[in-house]
């Protein structure tokens, strides 16, 4: 990145508080002219104001000197500010038209309207934080669950950045050794080339291990996946509708009505959960349904919590036995639901025998009996899942993609090293992997589409 002289940069302004009426409206101004603009708007600012101190002032229109509002103004001197530039903050009264008038005044005084995430982007470009940490901020703001919040805090705190930095540093070390060996064969005659392959493999494995945390990491972000599974016509879709609070799945009495996977995001006892309804497990049926069954198996194996639904009003059939087998084999936490309580529980004993360890909840989707109990059971199971606070988890798709690119490139490097392509060919792979890792934290030359993609998720004023 070629650094630009500061004076060339524009000064930007935006309302940093949400639109609408509220206690306070904050206009944030950043850039070389930020303090000058604040001075034009705030006549009561002392000639030599102290930094980071709140001054009470009138806010005036720079056009005609008319009074707009009164409030607090704070100044920050570069580089000791959020963006790393000179910053001014004007705290006025919160109101729709009022905040609009204030930002207009800032623009009239010479600022330019900031785009989405422009302040964070400047913070990144001025080296105040790396991209991954900026993404953590976006995540923090967007988080709707406690688990998501924890994941966002960890990202913002730089735990992923540090891990990626470590792997990238190992790649950089090995690469510089290779480059030295290629460009200075005389000075590097003492290098131990036999360990190169081992070092390369270790780097690849670390990248892969980090990439593998994406599943768990992403669940923290979007909430756990809960799969409703069980034999056909056990009432799964009816239960799903009750959980989701609306007619989501097609409910029909003919077995095999639910042919595809349905997903719906719901709040269960304060937890954001992705509900997955899958086709009933059974053999036969038409081809479309067979496909659905395959997807069901997949969904069950990748679920964070499985809710097994059976019709306990009758004795289990062969088909039911088969479904039980699948449920018994899942490694995810299991909540068993004996549905159709309104029709009796003749089969319950047999089911309990098959799945002794699990807790059983008796429900009736028809009458609504036991639904609250089921929700409670689900919530407590979700709470028992690991929170991922201690470990470094990949939570964003962008990071995962970069790790995949790095992994592929490292594998190519390995092949080149072993199959005679030579160090110079292997170095191409290692260079690419390093670039991908750097892309996560925004080191080296960051392509602008990465920056654009990251910052378009931000809101204006952030």
């Amino acid at each position: 990145m070629v650094p630009l002289p500061k004076k060339k940069l524009s000064t930007i302004a935006a309302v940093a508080t949400p639109a609408g009426t509220g206690g306070v409206c904050i206009v944030r101004v950043s850039g070389p002219r930020a303090h000058g603009i604040a001075r034009r708007l705030c006549p009561r600012l002392p000639r030599q104001p102290r930094m980071r101190r709140a001054y009470f002032s009138l806010f005036e229109s720079p056009a005609d000197g008319s009074m707009l509002d009164e409030g607090l103004v704070l100044l920050f001197r570069a580089p000791f500010s959020f963006t790393g530039e000179d910053v001014a903050e004007l705290h006025g009264h919160g109101g729709v038209a009022q905040s609009r008038a204030l930002i207009r005044a800032a623009l009239a005084a010479g600022a330019e309207a900031a785009g989405p995430g422009a302040f964070c982007r400047r913070a990144v470009e001025n080296g105040r934080m790396d991209i991954a940490r900026a993404e953590g901020i976006a995540e923090l703001v967007a988080a709707e669950t406690d688990a998501g919040l924890r994941a966002a805090r960890s990202l913002m705190g730089g735990s992923l950045s540090r891990r990626v930095e470590e792997i990238a540093a190992a790649a950089e070390d090995l690469l510089s050794e290779w480059e030295a060996a290629l460009d200075f064969p005389d000075e590097t005659a003492g290098l131990d080339e036999k360990v190169w392959h081992g070092r390369l493999t270790r780097i690849a494995v670390s990248a892969k291990q980090l990439e593998r945390t994406w599943g768990a990491g992403n669940r923290l972000r979007v909430g756990p996946r809960l799969v409703l599974a069980g034999p056909p016509n056990s009432g799964k879709s009816s239960l799903l509708n009750m959980l989701a609070g609306r007619e989501r799945a097609i409910v029909d009495h003919a077995p095999g009505t639910t042919r595809d996977v349905l997903e719906v995001s719901v709040d269960v006892g304060g937890h954001s959960i992705t509900l997955v309804d899958v086709a009933g497990v059974r053999d036969g049926g038409d081809r479309v349904e067979a496909l659905g069954v395959e997807k069901a198996m997949e969904a069950v194996t990748s679920a964070d919590v499985v809710v097994g639904v059976v019709d306990a009003s009758r004795a289990p059939t062969t088909m039911d036995e088969k479904a039980m087998e699948l449920l018994a084999n899942t490694s995810s936490p299991l909540v068993m639901v004996a549905n159709k309580k309104d029709l009796g529980d003749k089969g319950l004993a047999r089911y309990r025998e098959r799945l002794q360890a699990s807790s059983w909840v008796r429900t009736s989707a028809k009458t609504g009996q036991g639904i609250d109990e089921m929700k409670k059971e689900i919530a407590s199971t979700v709470e028992q899942r690991p929170t991922g606070e201690a470990e470094v988890l990949v939570t964003l798709e962008r990071h995962r993609e970069a790790l995949c690119v790095a992994w592929d490139a490292l594998k190519e490097a390995e092949i080149a090293l072993l199959d005679g392509g030579g160090v110079e060919l292997a170095a191409e792979g290692l260079r690419e992997a390093r670039g991908a890792l750097w892309g996560i934290i925004g080191k080296g030359a960051v392509s602008d589409d990465i920056l654009d993609k990251v910052f378009e998720r931000f809101c204006i004023g952030k």
Partner: protein
């Protein structure tokens, strides 16, 4: 109209950059004058009597493919030819040659004198003269110290090496010097500053020279050249090569005692800014800097290189130093084989002004001063090869500049500076040549130490090889007018032959009893060649033919094409997508604020950097892909409209 010039192009300096610049400009048909402070130092090798190396050999091949002189002169005066890095693949092998120093200079001068329209003159340029022109100024001539007061010309190439404000030192002894025994150029330094150019200082040093009769070669290991030496030049006949008798080098090593003396000598001079200060090239450091940087556990390799066929002098490569002469001698005598050595001259350090390279365009023309070009060590680089490469590009572009301005002059003197010539300047891309990497690095990022080419600087290293330099560049040399049609044809034929041979190997199964298993596995000769450590020559036994007779260079071309095939195919695809947009030129007077759809931020950055092409624009941080697309479609439209 009515304006007479003494010369079209004046080249200041006759070192490796100056010689190439003058040769190129004169070959383009322009009257060219070279001014040098010492006419008997034309093409002088001020440091090693050697050319090439890893990355540097690549540059020599590229200069040659474009029609430069360097490779041919090396072939004519080389007394040892050696390929470095033979353990590694073809992309990172480098050719290197020891030359006869005196013969090299003599031959270079003879080549220059053979070009019609090229004159050499001994003098010192004191000032570059400019006149006002729209958008800045333009060159109108030079003023020299001794000869005619003013010489009028249309373009000037500054290739003054280390002579600008040069100060040499041996220990505490300091003297104004451009090179040992030669006068520096003080006035020119001042003149360039007055023109608004920012200069900075670098430092470099050379080794002492030894009396070969006092070296005990018998105790040292011998380093021979290649058994089957490869010429540098594409146009040298490999059948009648080498031309001169070949010589050995010898190898020795520094030891603890050597280091002790160096360290003590260095400490005694610690207060001496000429020793302690200055920025030296990291990769050709003095022995004192080497010790400070790398420590001394293993000692440092010293190559004893012959100065020439008829010379007794020996050049101990790896021992650059500016320590006091008596310390140099003490140090030398600790090294095996040099116990009773005598020095013929001490090593010395030299500090000099260089032009901060971000002030020139990729054509090597100074921004805002039309017709002023800078090339070589004076632009912050190190090495003969780097200098020659820049000299060649500066020479070609100075020539083009003169042609363009002469055409315009006929119409109107006022519009002379309106810049259409930038569109036709010869500019190499980073994926095209090391020369492109070198010049792009210098002009975009500048340099904090004397810049040297490495293979690791090239992001397309596997494409930029010695074996394919002519495929990459000969057509450009032909278009520029430095390569003859028959040479261009020869290069095309060679490319075709290698392509055909690669195809044959891809489809031919091995023959002979030893290769039975390979045949059964349907493994082609190409598959076998891809294996570790297998060379083209190894295929001979299992190849029933009929293959062509390939020179070693050609064989390396085949090896590279096969070993890197997968990578190259992948890269070609990527470059093809990028290439078209990348090379779109941005007119120098384009007003970015008038381009609709660009954000203020992008506009500012473009305005600040003034990129010459869309490719360059896309590499500026903050210029978004969307902005690149807008620029590309605008410029593509302009191009169509202008025909």
């Amino acid at each position: 109209m009515g304006v007479t010039v003494d010369y079209d192009v004046i080249v200041i300096g006759a070192g490796h950059a100056g010689c190439e610049a003058a040769h190129a400009s004169a070959r383009l048909g322009l009257s060219t004058l070279v001014i040098t402070p010492r006419l008997d130092r034309v093409g002088w090798m001020s440091c090693n009597p050697a050319v090439g190396g890893i990355g540097k050999g690549h540059l020599v091949r590229e200069v040659d493919a474009l029609g430069g002189l360097l490779g041919r002169v090396v072939d004519e005066t080389g007394i040892q030819f050696r390929t470095l890095n033979t353990r590694r693949g073809p992309a990172v092998r480098g050719s290197r040659a020891q030359c006869d120093r005196l013969l090299y200079a003599k031959t270079m001068r003879a080549h220059l004198e053979a070009v019609p329209g090229l004159e050499l003159r001994e003098d010192l340029v004191e000032e570059v003269l400019v006149e006002k022109a729209s958008g800045g100024s333009r060159v109108r001539g030079v003023r020299t110290a001794r000869g005619l007061d003013e010489l009028a010309c249309l373009a000037v190439v500054v290739a003054a090496g280390t002579f600008l404000g040069g100060v040499a030192n041996v220990g505490r002894r300091k003297f104004a010097s451009g090179r040992e025994g030669d006068l520096p150029s003080m006035g020119l330094s001042r003149s360039l500053r007055q023109l608004g150019l920012a200069l900075k200082r670098f430092k470099t040093s050379t080794t002492p020279r030894l009396d070969g009769r006092t070296v005990d070669f018998d105790v040292l290991s011998v380093q021979r050249g290649d058994e089957e030496p490869k010429p540098f030049s594409h146009w040298t006949d490999p059948e009648r090569f080498p031309l001169l008798p070949q010589r050995f080098c010898h190898v020795t090593r520094t030891n603890e005692q050597t280091h002790h003396i160096v360290r003590r000598g260095f400490e005694s001079l610690a207060d001496e800014p000429a020793v302690a200060g200055g920025i030296e090239p990291r990769y050709c450091p003095s022995i004192e800097v080497k010790l400070r940087r790398f420590g001394d556990r293993m000692g440092h390799t010293i190559y004893l290189e012959p100065e020439g066929l008829d010379s007794n002098e020996v050049y101990p490569a790896g021992l650059s130093t500016s320590l006091p002469a008596d310390v140099q001698l003490q140090m030398l005598r600790t090294i095996p084989g040099l116990e009773s050595v005598e020095m013929t001259r001490p090593g010395y350090g030299i500090e000099y002004d260089f032009v901060i390279p971000t002030q020139v365009r990729r054509s090597l023309e100074v921004q805002k001063i039309g017709g002023l070009f800078v090339a070589g060590q004076v632009l912050g680089t190190s090495g003969y090869e780097e200098a020659a490469a820049q000299g060649l590009i500066a020479g070609i572009n100075a020539g083009k500049h003169v042609r363009a301005s002469s055409n315009r002059r006929w119409w109107s003197r006022e519009s002379l500076d309106e810049d259409e010539r930038s569109g036709e300047a010869t500019i190499l891309r980073r994926d095209q040549a090391y020369i492109g990497v070198l010049i792009d690095d210098l002009t975009t990022s500048g340099t904090s130490e004397p810049y040297r080419v490495f293979t690791s600087r090239a992001e397309h290293r596997l494409l930029l090889r010695e074996d394919n330099a002519d495929f990459r560049l000969a057509h450009l040399g032909y278009v520029a007018g430095l390569i003859t049609e028959s040479q261009a044809r020869k290069s095309t034929a060679r490319e075709e032959m290698i392509r055909a041979e690669v195809e044959r190997l891809e489809s031919t199964l091995p023959s002979g009893s030893a290769a039975q298993k390979e045949r059964e596995g349907r493994r082609t000769l190409a598959t076998i060649l891809r294996r570790p450590g297998i060379t083209y020559a190894d295929l001979k036994e299992m190849d029933a033919g009929p293959g062509p007779k390939l020179s070693r260079r050609d064989a390396e071309g085949v090896e590279a094409a096969i070993k890197y095939a997968g990578y190259i195919a992948k890269l070609d695809k990527r470059l093809e997508l990028l290439g078209n947009i990348d090379s779109l030129e941005i007119p120098e007077d384009l007003d970015f604020s008038g381009v609709p759809g660009l954000s203020v931020e992008v506009r500012e950055k473009l305005e600040h950097h003034r990129p010459a092409t869309v490719g360059q624009a896309s590499r500026i941080s903050g210029v978004t892909p969307a902005a690149v697309e807008i620029l590309a479609s605008l410029l593509a439209g302009l191009k169509r409209a202008c025909g």
